[in-house]
């Protein structure tokens, strides 16, 4: 008998089959994912999901007998009371055939249920979304380069000398050319001394000649030869911008209700999940503002209440200040999302527009403005009264394609708005 441990074998043998299966059931899985998203909380977006899809697209049909025609006979165990000739009302499930119910063959009409991993789930969800303004990013990338080790070279600066590789070559050369070892020479000298002290001059003479020969040999075969020398080689590779920072700007003045904040939160979280799929590292900066702006942690950002007026430009200034200090644009992709109910101190809107247009937007990859309503704003009065900020931002939007603005008044709209903003093929502001 042979025992083989197969456990270290590569994992995920079924992965490619699984991908094929998902590709096959793509349409069904996608609608199931959308359905599931409508029901779940934003905080759970990052988890996997159990989905049930109709078996139509993934049925594996075969010829089999219909259960509802003809005469069939069955032998079943567990008779308790029946005698020959008894009549039994027909069971609904099909006598003695329970085994094939819910089988993977998809012969039934039941939904096929399985679990998507987190990655698969998000892939499906974000499938037709992409990051806007990739051109700008790739232009920037050329500035950031990294040195990457790329083997060895025979020329280079002494600082890059690879001692390890050099000594290895040297040793190989010495062994192959049979350069006498220092210990051999020592041993020979000792033997000569011995022979002399024994008075065996003839032997001493012979050994001495041998010693001469070996010493000569070790002189013409150097310990380290220039051909042994190797230097570490480095290659300059452009470093992809894998870091992103996301600025969350929110008005926390008294006019923002909890419901509005909740809407904003949902939007921010979606953006965050979306970004961490694209970038290795994503920083988040929370900036809240009333009539003054400050950087806060997440908890404070969403849950503490402030009172005071509303001066939006303070938040933009704060953002600029932080971006300049901590997030140089050659290393960071900057995304910003601003949520507000649209109120602003009258004279400030003009300043916002100029700040945004001349300073903030040139730094950003993307700036989204989401105006949250309480769900009854425009529809109740029948006319949509644009807020101060909306009117002001409306001037900026046409000029800057990576600035977008949307209104959201109900949690169910979040996903569709988000989809709209990041839909492939450009943003239609």
């Amino acid at each position: 008998m042979n025992i083989v441990d197969r456990r270290p074998n590569p994992k995920g043998k079924s992965l490619s089959n699984r991908q094929r299966f998902l590709a096959r059931a793509r349409a069904e899985v996608k609608s199931a994912v959308q359905e599931a998203l409508r029901k779940r909380k934003v905080a759970d977006v990052g988890h996997g999901e159990k989905v049930a899809i109709p078996t139509r697209g993934i049925a594996e049909p075969n010829f089999h007998h219909s259960r509802r025609t003809g005469r069939t006979e069955h032998v079943v165990p567990g008779n308790k009371e029946y005698i020959r000739g008894d009549e039994i009302p027909r069971p609904t499930g099909g006598e003695g055939r329970g085994g094939s119910q819910g089988s993977p063959d998809g012969s039934g009409e039941d939904a096929f249920e399985f679990t998507l991993s987190k990655e698969e789930f998000l892939d499906m969800f974000f499938e037709d979304l992409e990051l806007p303004d990739l051109v700008k990013k790739s232009l920037k990338e050329t500035f950031a380069v990294d040195l990457q080790r790329a083997g060895y070279t025979v020329t280079g600066s002494p600082a890059n000398l690879s001692i390890r590789r050099t000594m290895r070559n040297s040793m190989a050369r010495r062994i192959s050319l049979k350069r006498p070892k220092q210990s051999d020479l020592e041993a020979l000298r000792e033997a000569i001394d011995n022979a002399r002290s024994r008075g065996a001059d003839e032997e001493a003479e012979r050994l001495l000649r041998e010693l001469d020969r070996l010493e000569h040999r070790s002189k013409i075969i150097p310990y380290i030869d220039p051909i042994d020398v190797r230097y570490n080689r480095f290659e300059r590779v452009p470093r992809p911008n894998t870091e992103a920072v996301m600025f969350c700007l929110m008005d926390v003045s008294g006019s923002m209700t909890e419901a509005m904040k909740d809407l904003a939160k949902r939007f921010f979280m979606l953006l965050h999940v979306f970004l961490i799929r694209r970038y290795r590292h994503v920083d988040i900066v929370f900036i809240r503002h009333t009539s003054t702006a400050e950087e806060v942690d997440e908890e404070t950002f969403f849950y503490s209440r402030e009172t005071g007026g509303t001066v939006v430009s303070t938040a933009l200034e704060k953002m600029l200040e932080i971006a300049r200090a901590r997030y140089p644009t050659d290393r960071w992709n900057i995304y910003a999302a601003q949520a507000s109910d649209g109120d602003n101190y009258g004279a400030d809107s003009g300043r916002c527009v100029s700040l945004l247009g001349s300073e903030v937007l040139p730094l950003c990859q993307y700036f989204a403005y989401v105006e949250v309503g309480d769900g009854m704003g425009g529809s109740l009065t029948g006319l949509s009264r644009d807020s101060d900020l909306w009117r002001a931002y409306n001037e900026v939007a046409p000029v800057h394609p990576h600035f977008v603005m949307r209104r959201v008044s109900d949690p169910s709209q979040i996903f569709s708005v988000f989809h709209e903003l990041f839909a492939k093929g450009g943003i239609r502001a």
């Binding site: 299966f21 006979e73 165990p77 993977p104």
Partner: protein, 519 residues
């Protein structure tokens, strides 16, 4: 087994004590089990290769229908997703073992198993199933244990190459279609032996000699019927063509592979791969109850003997009995857990019963089984049964009244035109033979699967392929999936396909399906 406990005189040291397994322990256990299996039970097995795998790898193996390697197809991914969900939800435990009919016999064991379970698995799979694979006539006739792994690796590589060359989508279309027909891609009877070249040459030579010897130039002058042969000879020629095509043919995939007019070489090869894999599983489908029964009976016997010899501890024995009794549990028909006859339960019970009949027969047994009752050699009879029967014939030959009473089997008939089912027979004197016959028919694969054959090809017209389903007892095909399968068949055939449902008794056509040629 209180008596065996009392009888144990010598105190051998147990092979293992704790629940954890290790390699040396596995080897000790294997050697002990092997001694019992070969020397005491007289089993004959392929060499064994035990492979330790994780639960995830077990799920992988589930997905590729229990084979260690398989070509890629989405349906295996679907199976994986299905089993994974059940497993993660805790609805379904994983099998302790998977065994592959190959030489050497590969036996997967899970790393999570306790040492007792590993012992059980080795006895069950490495000896029980292994013996059955090596000796049962169906496996000997239909499967090539030496070549299966090589063939599968060829199939996997071939499918992959096809995908690279012709695109995954084109390959998938062919495989999907072939999969739909895979139950009808098996040879149910052995072919006549292939004539070899020398033999053929000799026959041609003989025929020519005969022709020369009997040549008579006079025949040339007889006015030929050649000109007006068109009318009268047509029928005959068509029959001739049908004969040459090998019609009727019940192996649909074989017929398509050889005859489909528009199938390219690589597509033929794909159809062939599906067909051969299906053929490989054909014996398993016909012997599931016997195979599991054999393995269960063997593991029970081996574990009992190990315990008698003091090689496993009381604790292990209890753990084993717990697992064994849940394996051979048979819920009643009205139990929510009921899903048909449990092959482990029936197989194990019947085999234990045969042994009882041989060793301690009752009057009834002597009457029913005069040839084996009281023969004393239970294992000899069982080995003979394992080698020469399949489920259907095994039940017909060996199901005893005692078994029918024990399982309280009863026979109901279901006529779809009547509102209620009727009990035809129960476990009484008039019922035994009826139940035995009916149960045997229930295991008969040719009755369980629809009888579908290629009956004609319209070679003069639109090349329409005509299939016939011979309807027995008025049981028609399930309509929706039937249509889907015919569509798949048309994909392979390249022209339109027609399926007639013909009543086998009256030759009347009951229903017709037709699918236009694929666009």
């Amino acid at each position: 087994m209180p008596d065996s406990v009392a009888l144990r005189l010598e105190t051998a040291t147990p092979l293992f004590t704790g629940p954890n397994w290790d390699y040396s322990g596995l080897r000790r256990v294997y050697d002990a089990v092997e001694r019992i299996a070969l020397d005491e039970l007289g089993l004959d097995v392929y060499p064994v290769q035990v492979e330790v795998i994780t639960s995830e790898q077990m799920l992988d193996a589930y997905a590729s229908v229990g084979l260690p390697l398989m070509y890629r197809h989405w349906s295996f991914g679907k199976r994986f997703a299905y089993h994974e969900t059940l497993y993660r939800k805790g609805l379904q435990g994983l099998a302790y073992e998977i065994v592959i009919n190959s030489n050497p016999c590969i036996c997967y064991i899970m790393e999570e198993n306790s040492m007792t379970m590993q012992t059980l698995v080795i006895a069950h799979a490495a000896f029980g199933h292994n013996h059955f694979f090596k000796n049962n006539y169906l496996f000997r006739q239909w499967t090539d244990a030496n070549g299966i792994l090589d063939y599968l690796s060829f199939a996997r590589d071939y499918v992959q190459k096809c995908e690279e060359r012709h695109g995954a989508e084109a390959v998938e279309r062919v495989l999907d279609a072939a999969h739909a027909l895979k139950d009808h891609g098996v040879n149910r009877y052995a072919h006549r032996t292939k004539p070899n070249l020398a033999e053929e040459r000799r026959r041609a030579e003989e025929w020519r000699a005969h022709f020369e010897a009997t040549y008579n130039d006079l025949w040339r002058t007889v006015p030929g019927a050649d000109k007006d042969k068109d009318d009268s000879g047509n029928e005959a020629r068509l029959l001739e063509i049908k004969r040459e095509l090998g019609l009727p043919e019940e192996n649909l995939l074989y017929f398509i592979e050889k005859r489909a007019p528009r199938l390219e070489d690589w597509q033929q090869e794909l159809v062939r791969i599906v067909r051969l894999v299906s053929q490989y599983f054909y014996p398993q489908k016909q012997t599931q109850m016997m195979n599991e029964g054999c393995a269960t009976f063997v593991h029970y016997e081996i574990m009992r003997r190990l315990h008698d010899k003091g090689l496993i501890t009381e604790g292990s024995m209890l753990e084993f009995l717990h697992s064994h009794s849940s394996v051979v549990f048979q819920p009643d028909f009205d139990d929510p857990r009921f899903s048909g006859l449990n092959p482990y339960a029936l197989g194990f019970a019947m085999m234990s019963d045969i042994r009882r009949i041989c060793e301690e027969p009752t009057e009834e047994d002597r009457e029913w089984f005069p040839d084996i009752a009281g023969s004393g050699d239970g294992f000899g009879v069982l080995r003979h049964a394992w080698a020469n029967y399949r489920d259907e014939s095994f039940v017909l030959q060996h199901l005893s009244p005692a078994m029918i009473r024990r399982f309280r089997l009863f026979h109901v008939s279901d006529d779809s035109t009547k509102p209620a089912l009727r009990v035809e027979a129960i476990h009484d004197d008039v019922g035994y033979r009826k139940i035995r016959g009916a149960l045997s028919r229930q295991y008969d694969l040719s009755r369980r699967e629809p009888d579908i054959q290629v009956v004609d090809v319209d070679l003069r017209g639109d090349r329409c392929l005509i299939l016939a389903h011979y309807v027995h007892n008025g049981v028609l095909l399930e309509e929706q999936s039937c249509r889907a399968v015919i569509r798949h068949t048309a994909t392979l055939w390249g022209y339109s396909v027609k399926l007639l449902e013909i009543d086998a008794a009256t030759d009347k056509t009951l229903k017709t399906y037709e699918v236009a040629p694929p666009g």
